[in-house]
C-alpha cells in the first residue's frame, strides 16, 4: 500500500528561486492495483516517486509505503520497494549475476537465498544466456531484464516505475508493460509514471494527472472520461492541464 498525504517538495535554485516540484500531492494505491501518474516532462512525476522511494526527503507532508513512514523509516521503506527508472542503470563492469547478487546482499539476503532467487528470476526472465556476461556488453532488452531482476531480487511488496519505457524500442517496451501487469497480478502495489497516454490507457487501474507539481485530477479511465466528456486520453489530459484541445 502507498499513501501520500500533502506530499510537498520544494527546491531552491540560485537563478530560478523556489521551485515547487511537488505540491500537496495526495493519493492512495492499494495492493493489486496499478496507479498511473501521468504528466508532461517536468510535471513532478520523478520527484513524487523519488519521495516515495525515500531518495528525496519531503519538504512538507508525509507518505507511508508498505506501512512505513518515508521520513521516519526510510531504510524499511526501501527494503519493501522495487524502484525501476530510466535513470537507474546497471554496473557495466559487473555481470548480471553479480548485479543481482549485490542487490540481494544489500537487501540482507543470505548467499543461498540469493542463489535460489537468481535461478528463479533467470528462468522467469529468460536470462540464462547472458547471466554471466558483463552488463556493459548488453543490448537494451538484456539491460531491462537485468534491471527488473535487480528490483525483484528481494521480492518487494511495492513496485515503483518511473518512465521505465523511456527510449526503448517497441518490443522491449511491451515486455516491460507485460511485466508491470504481472506485478499487479501477483498482488503487488504498483505505481507507474509516464507521459505516454496509450500506456496509461492500457495499463493503469487508477490515473492521476500531475501538472506543475500538483495532482489535478484522479480516477479510473472511465471516471475521467465521464467527468471530462472525452474518450481520448490525450484530450482529457489537455483539458485537465488547461491547454488547448486539438479538434
Amino acid at each position: 500500500m502507498i499513501e501520500a498525504r500533502q506530499l510537498t517538495k520544494t527546491f531552491r535554485d540560485k537563478k530560478r528561486g523556489e521551485i515547487h516540484a511537488a505540491e500537496d500531492v495526495t493519493f492512495r494505491v492499494v495492493p493489486g492495483q496499478i496507479y498511473g501518474l501521468l504528466g508532461a516532462n517536468g510535471a513532478g512525476k520523478t520527484t513524487t516517486l523519488r519521495l516515495l522511494a525515500t531518495l528525496l526527503r519531503p519538504t512538507r507532508g508525509s507518505a507511508t509505503v508498505a506501512g512505513f513512514d518515508v521520513v521516519e523509516h526510510p531504510e524499511k521503506v526501501r527494503a519493501h520497494v522495487g524502484f525501476l527508472a530510466a535513470s537507474t542503470a546497471l554496473y557495466g563492469r559487473l555481470t548480471a549475476r553479480e548485479m543481482i547478487a549485490y542487490f540481494g546482499s544489500l537487501n540482507g539476503m543470505s548467499p543461498a537465498a540469493i542463489r535460489a532467487r537468481t535461478e528463479v528470476l533467470s528462468a522467469q526472465l529468460d536470462m540464462g544466456e547472458f547471466l554471466d556476461r558483463r552488463c556493459d556488453k548488453f543490448s537494451t532488452g538484456m539491460k531491462q531484464k537485468t534491471s527488473i531482476a535487480r528490483t525483484l531480487v528481494h521480492d518487494p511488496a511495492v513496485m515503483i516505475f518511473d518512465e521505465p519505457t523511456l527510449g526503448l524500442d517497441v518490443m522491449t517496451a511491451r515486455s516491460i508493460v507485460r511485466f508491470v501487469r504481472e506485478c499487479r497480478d501477483r498482488g503487488k502495489t504498483v505505481i507507474y509514471s509516464t507521459h505516454v497516454m496509450s500506456e496509461v490507457e492500457k495499463l493503469c487501474d487508477t490515473i492521476g494527472i500531475i501538472h506543475q507539481g500538483r495532482l489535478l485530477a484522479e480516477g479510473t479511465l472511465a471516471e475521467l472520461r465521464a467527468r471530462h466528456g472525452e474518450t481520448d486520453m490525450e484530450e482529457i489530459f489537455v483539458k485537465v492541464v488547461g491547454g488547448d484541445p486539438v479538434r
Binding site: L55, E75, S87, L90
Partner: protein
C-alpha cells in the same frame, strides 16, 4: 552503521575497480613503474649526461696574450683543453655552444708576473650550461696550478720554503652516519613521491565511485537499496583509501625490487646512490662499499615510521578526493576539480624537500608539509616524539574532518541529484 553493509559495498567496489583500467593504472601500474623509471631511466640519462660533460675536452679561446707567449704555450700544451683560434664573436660563440670558454689575459701578463704584480685574469663561460661550466672549472684548475708555480718560483727567488705561503693544510671529514646522509639526501624525495602517489591513487577510484556513478546512473540504483547512506559512504571511502594505500605499497615494493635487481649496476652514479638508499630502506641492508665510498642508507625503522605517518594523510586524501568528486556531475567535471588539487598537494611536498625548512610547532600543523618534514627526519634516524605526536594528531584530526564532510555531502540531495 552496519559493518556487513559496509563490507558488501566495499567488496563490490573493489571487484568493480579491479576491472577498471584507469584505476589499475593509477593505483598499480604507475606506482610500480615510477621507481624503475626514475632510477634506471632518468638516473641513467643523468649519469650519462654528467659523465659526458666531464669527459668533454673544452674548447678555449685565449684573448690577448700576444705579449705572453710562454703562458699561451702552456695553454696550448695542456691536454685538458683545446685552444682554438678566437672567433670575432667569441661571446656569441659561447652562447651558441660553438665555444665552451674564453680566457682573457691582461696586457703584459708575463712581464707583470715577473715584476711581482698581481694581474687579474678573466674566465668567460655560460652559466647553467653544463659543458661550459665544466670548461670554466678546467680553466680555473689550470690557472690555480699556474699561480702555485709562480708562487713557488717567487718563494725560491727569496730563498723561502713552500710552506711560507702555505703554512698549514686542512681537509674535511664526514661525521654523519650513512643513514643520516641518506635521510637528508633522499628523505625528502621518498615522502614526496609517496604523497603524490597516495593522492593520485585516491583520485581515480574517488572519481569513478562518485561522479562516475552519477554520470552512469548507477548512483540512483544504489540509493534505492535499503542500506543507510553512511554505510554506502564508508564502503566507498574504504575503496578509495585502498587505492591510495595500494599506490604507496606498490611504490615501496617496486623501490625494493628495483634496487635489489639493478641497484648494484648503478652504484657509481648519483641516482645509484639514491637507489642504494632505497635498498637500505627496504631491506635494512648494511652499508656497502662501492667505488671506494660508503653508500648512504635510510634507517629502516624510519620507513616503518613513514608508513605510519602516511596513514592519516591517506585518509585525508581519500576523504577529500571523495568529497570533491562527489560534488561533480560527471567524471570530466571531477577531473577538472581534482586535477588542480595535485598542485596543492605537490607544493607543500616540494617545500618540505628544500634545505633549511625544519620542523617547528607551526610547520607541524601544516598538512602535507608536516608529513614531508617529519618523514625526512625519521628516514635520517631522528625521532622528535613531540612533533611526531603533534603531526599524527593533527593529520588524524584533518582526516576525521574530511571524512565527516564526505558523509555530510553524501546526505545532501542537491549534491546527489545535482542536474
Amino acid at each position: 552503521m552496519n559493518w556487513n553493509n559496509i563490507a558488501t559495498v566495499y567488496l563490490k567496489e573493489l571487484k568493480d575497480s579491479l576491472r577498471d583500467r584507469r584505476t589499475l593504472i593509477s593505483t598499480i601500474v604507475i606506482p610500480t613503474l615510477v621507481m624503475p623509471l626514475m632510477f634506471f631511466g632518468m638516473g641513467k640519462v643523468m649519469t650519462s649526461v654528467v659523465t659526458k660533460a666531464r669527459e668533454d675536452i673544452p674548447t678555449v679561446a685565449v684573448l690577448g696574450g700576444e705579449d705572453s707567449p710562454g703562458v699561451v704555450r702552456q695553454f696550448r700544451e695542456s691536454k685538458r683543453m683545446r685552444v682554438v683560434p678566437t672567433p670575432a664573436d667569441w661571446k656569441q660563440a659561447i652562447s651558441d655552444k660553438r665555444l665552451r670558454v674564453a680566457v682573457q689575459l691582461p696586457e703584459k701578463f708575463e712581464a707583470q708576473l715577473q715584476a711581482g704584480a698581481a694581474p687579474a685574469v678573466k674566465v668567460f663561460y655560460y652559466e647553467g650550461e653544463l659543458k661550459s661550466e665544466n670548461g670554466a672549472r678546467v680553466l680555473e684548475r689550470f690557472l690555480g696550478e699556474l699561480r702555485e708555480q709562480v708562487v713557488a718560483e717567487r718563494l725560491a727567488a727569496h730563498g723561502l720554503p713552500k710552506t711560507a705561503a702555505r703554512p698549514f693544510e686542512f681537509r674535511r671529514e664526514n661525521v654523519a652516519p650513512p643513514e643520516k646522509v641518506g635521510g637528508n639526501l633522499f628523505g625528502g624525495l621518498v615522502p614526496y613521491l609517496i604523497i603524490i602517489l597516495c593522492f593520485t591513487g585516491a583520485m581515480y577510484p574517488a572519481m569513478d565511485l562518485t561522479a562516475g556513478e552519477k554520470e552512469r546512473g548507477t548512483m540512483e540504483t544504489l540509493l534505492c537499496s535499503p542500506v543507510p547512506r553512511v554505510d554506502i559512504v564508508l564502503g566507498k571511502f574504504l575503496m578509495v583509501l585502498t587505492g591510495s594505500l595500494s599506490a604507496m605499497a606498490f611504490m615501496l615494493l617496486s623501490m625494493g625490487v628495483t634496487v635489489a635487481v639493478g641497484g648494484s649496476l648503478m652504484m657509481g652514479g648519483g641516482m645509484g646512490r639514491a637507489a642504494a638508499a632505497g635498498a637500505a630502506a627496504k631491506s635494512a641492508a648494511a652499508p656497502a662499499a662501492s667505488g671506494g665510498g660508503v653508500i648512504p642508507m635510510i634507517d629502516p625503522l624510519g620507513v616503518v615510521g613513514v608508513i605510519a605517518m602516511v596513514l592519516p594523510v591517506a585518509v585525508l586524501f581519500a576523504a577529500a578526493a571523495f568529497t570533491i568528486s562527489l560534488f561533480a556531475k560527471s567524471y570530466k567535471e571531477a577531473q577538472s576539480y581534482l586535477g588542480p588539487m595535485i598542485i596543492l598537494v605537490i607544493m607543500p611536498g616540494v617545500i618540505g624537500m628544500l634545505p633549511g625548512i625544519d620542523l617547528s610547532a607551526k610547520t607541524a600543523l601544516i598538512p602535507i608539509l608536516n608529513l614531508s618534514l617529519v618523514c625526512k627526519e625519521m628516514l635520517s634516524g631522528v625521532w622528535h616524539w613531540g612533533y611526531i605526536g603533534l603531526i599524527f594528531g593533527s593529520s588524524s584530526l584533518y582526516a576525521a574532518i574530511a571524512l565527516w564532510l564526505a558523509v555530510r555531502m553524501f546526505n545532501r540531495e542537491d549534491v546527489l541529484f545535482r542536474a
